[in-house]
């Protein structure tokens, strides 16, 4: 791209030929259109979901919807508290299992591994990120569920199985982003630490990781976003009982899985309740995005 076109004042634009000017303008509009279509799609989805979900406020009552503890379509009771709790149990447990693994992998890749080792560990992590979630679900229901069933003496459906499956799913996301954060720490900081007589371990946990703290938290929140929205893999292993589970091995249900289970036959208020649940998920993900943005501002 030539220098003058990058200027924004009309004065510099006069320096280029008419055809270049037209081309530049067209491209600018094209990119604007791309971005605009995307924003429009998000807005439309939001408006549609909100519009479909609104009757829950007028016909059912928002308080009863959010704090109700019974989800039962046959008796027209739509309390989503057990489902919200289920979503958080599944998500937070997966984060607790996955985060140490992911951050450990990231530290290994950025500070410990030799270039040769890194050259095959990194692609493996990236490959894991690209596996479709239904494959994880299939692995979860066939292999993991029966293993869990054997050692726990239950059906194997429940939070624990979902934690393991989800942890494997979010490790690549968190690891890749954390590694970027760790590698963006200037080499000089590490050298200063070594110069003070610190060992490699001391350097990692006292200097490098704290310096990359906000980037790593960013990565964890994005991983949480993936975990809370994940449906297919979770649906196959949670057991789909819309109750507060009394053990990690008891069936539970999450917001996303309940939507999938009920969608095929939901009508009337039941359908509205599903849309309202989708709106709740929308709000949760907006909160997560807002947190990430706030943290990035903090880092800068």
């Amino acid at each position: 791209m030539s220098e003058p076109t990058e200027g924004h004042s009309t004065g510099t634009l006069q320096l280029v030929s008419r055809s270049t000017y037209v081309k530049e303008t067209l491209l600018k509009s094209l990119f604007f259109a791309c971005a605009f279509v995307f924003v429009l799609a998000v807005a439309l989805i939001f408006v549609f979901v909100g519009w479909k979900a609104w009757p829950i406020v007028t016909d059912y009552g928002l308080g009863k919807f959010i704090t109700g503890t019974v989800w039962s379509s046959s008796t027209e009771e739509f309390g989503i508290l057990p489902l919200i709790v289920g979503s958080f149990i599944v998500t937070l447990g997966a984060l607790a299992l996955g985060t140490p693994l992911a951050v450990g992998t990231a530290v290994f890749l950025s500070d410990v591994a030799s270039p040769r080792v890194r050259s095959f560990v990194r692609p493996a992590v990236e490959l894991l990120a690209g596996v479709p979630s239904v494959v994880y679900g299939f692995f979860g229901i066939i292999l993991l569920r029966s293993l869990v069933a054997q050692f726990s003496g239950t059906l194997g459906f429940g939070a624990f199985t979902a934690w393991v499956v989800l942890a494997i799913m979010i490790v690549p996301t968190i690891a890749a982003l954390s590694e970027d954060a760790l590698r963006s720490i200037p080499e000089g900081i590490r050298e200063a630490s070594y110069a003070m007589g610190a060992t490699q371990w001391q350097t990692i946990y006292k200097v490098v990781v704290p310096a990359a703290k906000i980037g790593i938290i960013d990565a964890i929140i994005l991983g949480m976003g993936r975990a809370i929205g994940e449906t297919m893999a979770v649906l196959m292993v949670v057991g789909n009982a819309p109750v507060f589970p009394n053990s990690p091995f008891a069936p539970l249900s999450t917001m996303t899985t309940q939507i999938v289970m009920d969608m095929p036959y939901a009508v009337g208020l039941h359908r509205t309740a599903l849309f309202a649940m989708a709106a709740m998920l929308f709000i949760f993900s907006m909160l997560l995005v807002a947190t990430v943005r706030l943290l990035s501002r903090l880092r800068d």
Partner: protein
């Protein structure tokens, strides 16, 4: 009904159009390519088909011979497929099938607005004196399954109800090992769940802590591998297929579920599927009922739909 009528109209319309096109085809010199002759074959086949179709409706007076079959949605697949095959055999007959629910079917047949009322339940007391004749056409049975490792071999229906309501939570309470009972339920869209709820649970709600699985195959697979699990599936799915592991079907009230016990109704979690007529069936109604009871339908449509033919074990 609309569907059938429109088919008559199209049948006639096709005939005249295709006559023209086939004549136009024969006027042409016969040096057509393979594609052309294939197309002509297609046209001829379509012509033959439309002639066959219109032969049935050419005499509208005979199409007045019409019966209607309405009621249970469970029976709908049997009644519909039987109606199609029946009309193929009887070009003058028109059988209209609709599913409104068993109660609506019984009401319609007693009011005389339909010739056959289909029902997946017996007559209630207040429906007894209406002069309805019952012709059972098939059986539907639900097996309660546990793992082969489970030593319990039977439950009473009251125990079963308490188990699925979450009141009995350990196998030792029903004579088994000291092991928690793991309930496996079906999703609310399932017809099997609906039938189980009606027959076994009566007014008690299901325990909501039960795992809810979206398919018969999944219920079977999960229960087969978990020693503490209990679930229910249609009787037709109990026997292992494609090398799946076997499951144990529990005796209920001392009766093991099989085609015979479901058929003679000694096994409690089963139901008869009925055709009700106002008085003894006559004419086309009788012909249609006889057709549904024939081997063609019983061994084909009925078995394929997962039900048990009425002849197995002898109808009452």
């Amino acid at each position: 009904m609309q569907h059938r009528k429109s088919r008559h109209v199209y049948g006639r319309g096709h005939r005249s159009v295709l006559f023209l096109s086939s004549r136009a085809g024969s006027d042409r010199p016969s040096r057509g390519t393979r594609v052309y002759s294939a197309a002509r074959l297609g046209v001829l086949a379509a012509l033959a088909f439309s002639l066959l179709m219109s032969a049935g409706c050419s005499n509208q007076k005979q199409r007045v011979d019409e019966i209607s079959v309405s009621g249970s949605t469970t029976i709908l697949p049997i009644a519909e497929q039987a109606a199609e095959l029946f009309m193929a055999d009887h070009p003058t007959a028109n059988v209209l099938v609709s599913g409104l629910g068993s109660s609506a079917g019984i009401e319609a047949v007693s009011a005389g607005t339909t010739q056959i009322g289909t029902s997946s339940r017996d007559l209630k007391e207040e429906e007894q004196g209406l002069g309805l004749i019952d012709t059972p056409i098939a059986y539907d049975g639900i097996a309660v399954i546990v793992s082969e490792e489970n030593p319990v071999s039977g439950l009473t229906i009251e125990q079963l109800r308490s188990v699925f309501a979450g009141e009995i939570t350990n196998w030792s309470e029903v004579g088994g090992e000291d092991r928690p009972i793991e309930l496996v339920n079906r999703d609310e869209a399932s017809g099997t769940r609906e039938a189980f709820k009606k027959i076994v649970m009566e007014d008690k709600p299901f325990d909501r802590r039960a795992a809810v699985l979206p398919g018969t195959g999944q219920v079977r697979d999960v229960v087969a591998r978990a020693p503490g699990a209990i679930g229910y599936i249609s009787l037709g799915f109990v026997a292992p297929r494609f090398n799946s592991i076997s499951v144990k079907a529990l005796k209920i009230d001392g009766v093991a579920p099989n085609e015979k016990t479901v058929a003679d109704q000694t096994y409690p979690i089963g139901r008869l599927l009925h055709f009700f007529t106002k008085g003894e069936p006559t004419g086309l109604t009788k012909e249609y009922i006889d057709f549904v009871l024939s081997d063609t339908i019983q061994q084909g449509v009925v078995v394929d739909a997962g039900f048990i033919p009425i002849a197995e074990g002898g109808a009452k």
